[in-house]
Subunit: 316 residues, 2 copies
């Protein structure tokens, strides 16, 4: 299991390496939601998403022998970049298994940090099996969310929010968190102590359904979505345990709503947000989570988006 103590230990390891992202306000966002919203912009994090937090926490907790044998990770892109950067900073060889249709910008950034990239077909191959094969020489597999160190690392974003709100004397009612396998959402629930609503893209509602049906639900089909960062088949026992224990619930937004939130962030927040990183914002803007009269934290989880996709979101 993982607890707030693990999150605090992670915060100590990350100090001076991760960005302590600010809490931002926006009149336009408050007006659109009818509430008071604090934004946690993890697009401003090292490697452009929250993923660096968990990756650095995981790798920095390996002993020197394990580091020398290297790490293997599978990821749609943001976790890849987080692991690659953490591995570079800790002088650890890294091999990353990435879907062949991941954004080119994410593949390029992963390679730029010195990692070896192995591509696979997201819809027909098992990234877990490929990673296990690559790790046969003794490398450590760094999963995207099914690991207490990863969850604790992501949780440092929630811990920062709790500290910043406390310093301002603000009490929030709810936190909206972008959700793939639930690593960020579960860590955020632990670190912030806030009631969490997970937000997934339509067609990827495994977490919402798991929390509603009170057992882990695995998706049968994985439809295409512009939210490439959130294409997860099912959560893990670890993230399920934390989120169900925290009585989290889940909602979904459409691709069009995510794209519209990307455009809102461009126009009013002046932040570059990728579609998958904008789903929590979309849930706030569309009222899928009603924030009227409430005080909320909305997590923007990443900003690694290709210029063409971004331009399409702005034009829509």
């Amino acid at each position: 299991m993982v607890s707030i103590c693990d999150v605090k230990a992670a915060a100590g390891r990350l100090k001076g390496h991760a960005v302590r992202t600010p809490l931002l306000r926006s009149d336009a966002l408050d007006a659109a939601c009818g509430g008071r919203v604090w934004l946690k912009p993890e697009c401003l994090q090292v490697t452009g998403s929250f993923k660096f937090r968990g990756a650095y926490n995981r790798l920095s907790a390996l002993d020197s022998d394990a580091r020398a044998r290297g790490v293997v990770a599978f990821s749609s892109g943001n976790h890849a970049q987080g692991v690659a950067r953490a591995a570079k900073l800790l002088a650890t060889p890294a091999t990353i298994v990435m879907p062949a249709d991941a954004p080119a910008v994410k593949i390029a950034a992963t390679r730029a940090d010195g990692a070896t990239v192995v591509l696979y077909d997201r819809y027909t191959e098992s990234r877990e099996a490929i990673a296990a094969r690559l790790a046969e020489g003794g490398a450590t597999i760094v999963p995207p969310f099914d690991d207490p160190f990863i969850v604790a690392g992501q949780g440092t974003a929630g811990l920062e929010v709790a500290e910043d709100l406390a310093a301002m004397g603000v009490t929030a009612d709810v936190a909206l968190v972008c959700c793939g396998g639930g690593g960020l959402a579960s860590g955020f629930a632990l670190g912030s102590g806030l009631p969490v609503v997970t937000v997934e893209p339509a067609g990827y509602d495994d977490v919402a359904r798991s929390l509603a049906e009170k057992h882990i639900v695995a998706l049968e089909t994985l439809p295409p979505t512009i939210c490439d960062a959130l294409q997860t088949r099912s959560m893990s026992p670890l993230t399920y345990s934390v989120l169900s224990g925290a009585q989290a619930r889940g909602v979904v937004v459409t691709d069009a709503e995510a794209a519209s939130a990307v455009a809102f962030a461009f126009r009013h927040l002046k932040l570059v947000v990728e579609p998958g990183g904008a789903v929590a914002l979309a849930a706030a803007l569309t009222g899928r989570v009603d924030l009227a009269g409430r005080t909320a934290v909305v997590v923007v989880s990443g900003g690694n988006v290709e210029a063409e996709v971004f331009a399409r979101c702005l034009a829509a």
Copy 2:
């Protein structure tokens, strides 16, 4: 004149109204410059640029009679939005004189805050004369930079930087500041206490020339530029006095360099920056101010850019 005491008084008036923008780091930026750069992202400020600081400081210092008579401002867009928002918050009628070719997004945002917008031709008409005529009924003219309250308000950005650097035990060697008429640059020099290098678009080097030639130089021609926020004919005695007293110097960057900096901010910083707000970043990236081995503050002054212009910058 204006002093650090005026900047501190402005910080008191702005508290709770302006965003205390964070200081951001980026490995990609450090690598590109060969130094250690702290970014002050004023695109995250209320109304998307630093201009709200000066406008709110100026308007909040008016007595109730003056507020009732209203304010008149002339601006290429960001000052317009700053004044319109400050006027709205302080229940003051506002009329804004804007160039007809200002970005539609800036004109729309100004109107959305309840201001009356009067358009003029930037290349043939005098905005000062139009504003003077509109103010004949007793309204107060709020100039974009030639006013001690405006300079002191903009200076709060520098004061925040000084406080944040001191809290981290960091000493910076230089600050690169985007520059039109010098309101931000002079305020920043006062508030931060740092040596300032002003950065202007090519063809708008009135501040660089004024500082080099040791008297105020007015431009004869105003060429088109994508840096619409910085199209100023000449600085004022006030901004000249502060910047020359602070031994500031000036450099220029081309439109292409500004556009490239916009694209860099998109890719690596995840910030939406307008071309005029990116000139200081461009000066850092191009080495027009050599930051190798140095610690620098780079101000990103605004993010109010139309989607089409932004897309062109990313594609270039």
